[in-house]
């Protein structure tokens, strides 16, 4: 009955540091309370929020919370009804104990629970290709360590370039499925008419042009992991079919009636919070639950500037043969950037800086005007450098043009190389070479159907 020796308890009882706490104190919703033991949390009406606010005027996901010491950073998730601090509508604000926020008809009160302990962090600073020393990243690594060996579906939510595919690869590599296939699909690149045949395969003669029997992605991934990027883009008819596959663990090839059993672990990614897509009627709730047994959030790079140095070390090793380092001034600059393209953008910046750097140190001037996205706004505003020899000046201008053009092109085509090649009217291999030359050929930039090894 008493099978826990006292010393076992004494060993684990430690002084908790305390965490901020958010309580529903008024309004129609059940009076729930959230202790911010995790560094990131969401508040909204959908049942999967960390703090569920059952108020019809509150959005599926209404606000995002980030723990900042004893305070909480609150961001409105782009809601129509807004988030209110007294008479002020707030979109991004840091709140301390005593603050009261109104969402819909509900009042949230912020205070501090000195008795609650923050969630324990992983000791590691990398997981697969992901690196980070920040609290949210080490929390993420702790989660990934735990869930990778289990057969649970995972939904990865993060902005572009945060490393969603790297999460999927790391999960696969740390699972018992690591020797089995890892198949990547970009839902945005699935042509609607062919999507079903591509995913589930087709029999010979199933439709015009089906001259061969073809194995679909799901069958190709049998025993392994399938990663579907931008799952929010999956057309509605496919969502229904996908749900059936997940429920029955079998697929039916186009043109066939015989179900084929498949054993795949599914990892999906999205840059939008799917719970708001559900609310808008664009994503199936039941599919969400199936796909999101585990939900992980990849924080944007601007929210974890403390990770910039360790990221630089890792990324420089992958983009350059030389042993390069970044000096303090350059690091300060990089840490302060908004990084809309996140880690992928940092990687591209470092690739270019590595090419520009004369010595083995990357300096402030090598990364000037970088880190604010592919839009090149600051770049474009900067006048052309007209000094020096004609050939050199022309070369610099061409480089700038190419970088800006290619970045815009790839962004427009959502990283789909084939589509970008069509739009730019250049051969696919030529475009790839250009992208490589400009350091824009990053991870997962390729299109899915004929996925190529990483650059």
């Amino acid at each position: 009955m008493v099978d826990n020796p006292t010393d076992a308890i004494a060993r684990v009882i430690r002084t908790p540091k305390g965490v901020p706490r958010v309580s529903i104190v008024a309004g129609p919703a059940e009076r729930r309370v959230l202790a911010m033991t995790q560094s990131l949390a969401t508040v909204g009406r959908h049942e999967t929020n960390d703090l569920v606010v059952a108020d019809p005027q509150v959005s599926g996901v209404h606000i995002e919370l980030a723990r900042v010491g004893e305070r909480v950073r609150v961001r409105d998730a782009g809601t129509t009804n807004g988030t209110w601090l007294g008479a002020h509508r707030v979109t991004d604000v840091e709140l301390g104990a005593g603050a009261e926020l109104v969402v819909g008809a509900t009042t949230l009160r912020f205070d501090f629970d000195a008795g609650a302990a923050p969630a324990s962090l992983s000791d590691r600073t990398s997981f697969g290709e992901l690196v980070g020393e920040s609290t949210p990243m080490r929390e993420l690594f702790a989660t990934l360590e735990r869930i990778a060996p289990k057969n649970l579906s995972v939904l990865v939510h993060g902005e572009t370039g945060t490393g969603k595919e790297e999460v999927a690869r790391a999960i696969h590599a740390a699972s018992t499925r690591k020797t089995a296939p890892f198949v990547v699909i970009d839902a945005t690149s699935l042509p609607e008419t062919l999507a079903e045949a591509l995913l589930f395969g087709h029999e010979k003669g199933a439709f015009t042009g089906a001259t061969e029997r073809r194995v679909g992605f799901f069958e190709a991934a049998h025993g392994g992991t399938i990663f579907i990027d931008e799952i929010g883009e999956l057309p509605a008819p496919l969502q229904a079919k996908f749900l059936r596959v997940l429920e029955r663990r079998e697929i039916v090839r186009v043109g066939s009636h015989e179900p084929t059993p498949v054993d795949v672990r599914v990892v999906v990614a999205t840059h939008r919070d799917l719970r708001n897509e559900i609310e808008a009627g664009r994503f199936r709730d039941d599919l969400f639950y199936r796909l999101a047994q585990i939900r992980v959030r990849l924080p944007p790079l601007r929210d974890r500037p403390e990770d910039v140095p360790i990221l630089c070390t890792k990324l420089l090793a992958s983009v350059s043969e030389r042993r390069l380092s970044v000096d303090a001034a350059a690091l300060d600059h990089l840490r302060a950037q908004p990084w809309p393209g996140n880690v992928r953008e940092l990687r591209n910046v470092l690739a270019r800086a590595a090419a520009l750097a004369t010595g083995d140190v990357i300096r402030r001037e090598d990364v000037a005007g970088e880190g604010d996205g592919f839009r090149g706004t600051r770049d474009e505003r900067r006048a052309l450098d007209l000094s020096g020899a004609f050939a050199d000046a022309k070369q610099r201008a061409i480089e700038r043009f190419e970088s800006a053009y290619l970045a815009a092109l790839m962004k427009r085509c959502q990283g789909n190389l084939s589509r970008a090649a069509r739009e730019a009217d250049v051969a696919r291999h030529h475009l790839r070479d250009l992208l490589k030359k400009r350091g824009l050929y990053g991870t997962s930039e390729d299109d899915a159907p004929d996925h190529e090894p990483e650059a």
């Binding site: 049942e47 969630a119 324990s120 649970l152 047994q293």
Partner: protein, 408 residues
Amino acid sequence: MRTIAGKLRLLERIAIGGMGEVYRGQNLATGGDVAVKLLEPSLADDDSRERFRHEARVSAILTHPSVVRVFDLLEEPDGTLALVMELLAGETLEQRLAKGPLSPELAVATMHPVLSALDHAHEVGIIHRDVKPANIFLALEPSGAIAPKLLDFGVAKTHSSTVKTMDGKVLGTARYMSPEQVRGEALDGRSDVWSAAVVTYEAITGQSPFEAQDGPSSVSRILESMVDPHERIPPRLWLVLERALSKQSYERQGSASALANDMLSALGLSADRLPRLASDRPPVPRLETRGALRPVVAPAAGEGARPSARRFRASVVVAAFIGGAAVAGSIVVGARSRAASREAAPPAGAILVEAVPSFRHVEADAGPARAAATASVSAEPAHRTVPRHPASAATAPAPKPVATTPGF
């Protein structure tokens, strides 16, 4: 054969534990069977004697169909304490889970009456503090259905409790303890809510959410580790359990009944239409010991009506399998006699059997149509119908009653 206090004869030992033994006993005056838990003077220090008395007192406060009844506490001149309890046949949830996990529906249906009992206890200010599979008894009813009951209020805490929990001694079973219990803090009903969620998780998955693969580190896991979902737990039910397993009690459901309701709605079940555990063992003719010894506390108004309602339900089940279109009334009369229920014994006809062996669904008011409808309630894909039970249960030996072993 030993006799206690001149009025109870001990017939056979049915369980043995570290602190004492449990016997099947017979009331010499009425002939009724009871379970008798003995605390021998040689084994009893003041602490365990007080716990023994405490359990009797706490049980007397509780009047709930899912709490095992304690009828009396007897003391022999030599100091032997005897707790006289309702005799139950069946097995503990722990024994049941050793044979394999339950479907989510059955796990929730099993926990529902347990949570109802906890809610009742909490309302009168009693915290159980030791909710675990070994303390949930799946009592076999005459119908062959199972009625889960909460056992062992031996470490329960009342407002006026004198049971000691100081001296750094934490009562309770480590892997089901709430974080606040591990820390030795003041407890309320939400500590039991936590433990009930751990039991539910374990019943569905066959594994504890905190049991480490590599040793007895579950105490630190309770305080620190996040619990992950499990393939066998449906996502919406998981959200309910995840909330009940919040480290801070204020993050959990506020009451045991709130947890019960949340679990039901997560699975789309309703309280009056729960799948029921049933045993594949033939029903035991001698089960109803109520009335053999009057309970110390008079049953509440609602309580008195229950046994007959249950008996009626049992009859309907029997009716369904004996006669099909038989006139229910006449069967009801017949089924009330022991012989009839013995003959009609295995209500196996068209009942759906779960993939997990030895238990089947019987719905609360199971007729054949209802039983068939149960199929849609269950999430387990593999159902099969069993053929009509070939053997007459009358010839089969009645299963040995396994008694409650609270506190041992």
